[in-house]
Amino acid sequence: MAELNETIHQTVRLRIMAALVTLETNEELEFTYLRDLLEVTDGNLGAHLRKLEDAGYIIINKAFVERKPRTYVSATTNGRKVFSEHVAALEAILKSK
């Protein structure tokens, strides 16, 4: 049976993962784009992204686009798997109500 994941269950991290798994596997979201989607501050988003990166659920890439530094974020294969297991666990709890 699928289990809940404590790292992902936190509200902001849950929403970050939901946004990232919506993308195709070869796509990444730009940091400020993700920040605007989530309506959080830079610092808040940065802190949650570090936790997800440490857990191996996301990858953070830094690049220069038109001479400006950009940060891109994407979900790892493991991150997608853990997230879908978390969603399955949530649905199982709801069904057992």
Partner: protein, 189 residues
């Protein structure tokens, strides 16, 4: 880790909301710009057809179409800058190429059918633009497919049933409608 069914329901709702918001943000990030651009071009072009001498109106249309093609390509390339893909040919570039090819097809079709009068030329442009619109709708936001079909229907009704006010109908209902829809898409999504 244990949570109540109510918490689980709230978490699932938050996930669904975020996924929907992300999909909409990505898909609508540039679609409205095409609508406003082509709405403005239609309004100016058809008002020109109504009030300017035929030859000058023809040149106005050619200029507007070239401008529209270039701006559509730029919008296509700049779309979804918040999303980066590892695939070499991004969807934005493909969209830009699609619009450029569509205009080449339009010019070719007009050349094959030449000579055509002003209304026929306008209908050629409308047919190709609405094909492009519907294709964009299928790719980016399915709801706008119905608006594209409605515009196509309106144009055909004007062409066959209301030829005397065809240009004015296209300027205000066609062009104005596209601008209004573009603003609506931008604000709603």
């Amino acid at each position: 880790m244990n949570i109540s069914p109510t918490e689980a329901e709230e978490a699932l709702t938050a996930i669904q909301t975020m996924m929907q918001k992300t999909r909409r943000a990505i898909s609508s990030s540039g679609a409205y710009k095409f609508l406003i651009l082509w709405g403005a071009i239609w309004m100016v072009g058809f008002l020109g057809s109504q009030f300017l001498p035929k030859e000058i109106a023809g040149y106005v249309w050619i200029g507007l179409d070239i401008l529209g093609g270039i701006l559509s390509a730029i919008i296509g390339i700049r779309m979804n800058r918040g999303v980066r893909t590892s695939v070499p040919t991004s969807s934005g570039k493909r969209i830009a190429i699609f619009w450029l090819l569509l205009f080449l097809y339009c010019f070719a079709a007009v050349a094959v059918a030449w000579p055509v009068d002003g209304k026929q030329l306008a209908m050629f442009i409308i047919l190709f633009v609405t094909v492009g619109w519907i294709a964009m709708g299928l790719l980016l936001s399915f709801a706008s497919v119905w608006w594209g079909l409605a515009l196509l229907g309106l144009s055909l009704v004007g062409y066959f049933l209301l030829p005397d006010i065809f240009y004015l109908l296209m300027a205000f209902l066609g062009g104005g409608g596209m601008i209004a829809l573009g603003i609506y898409v931008r604000n709603r999504w």
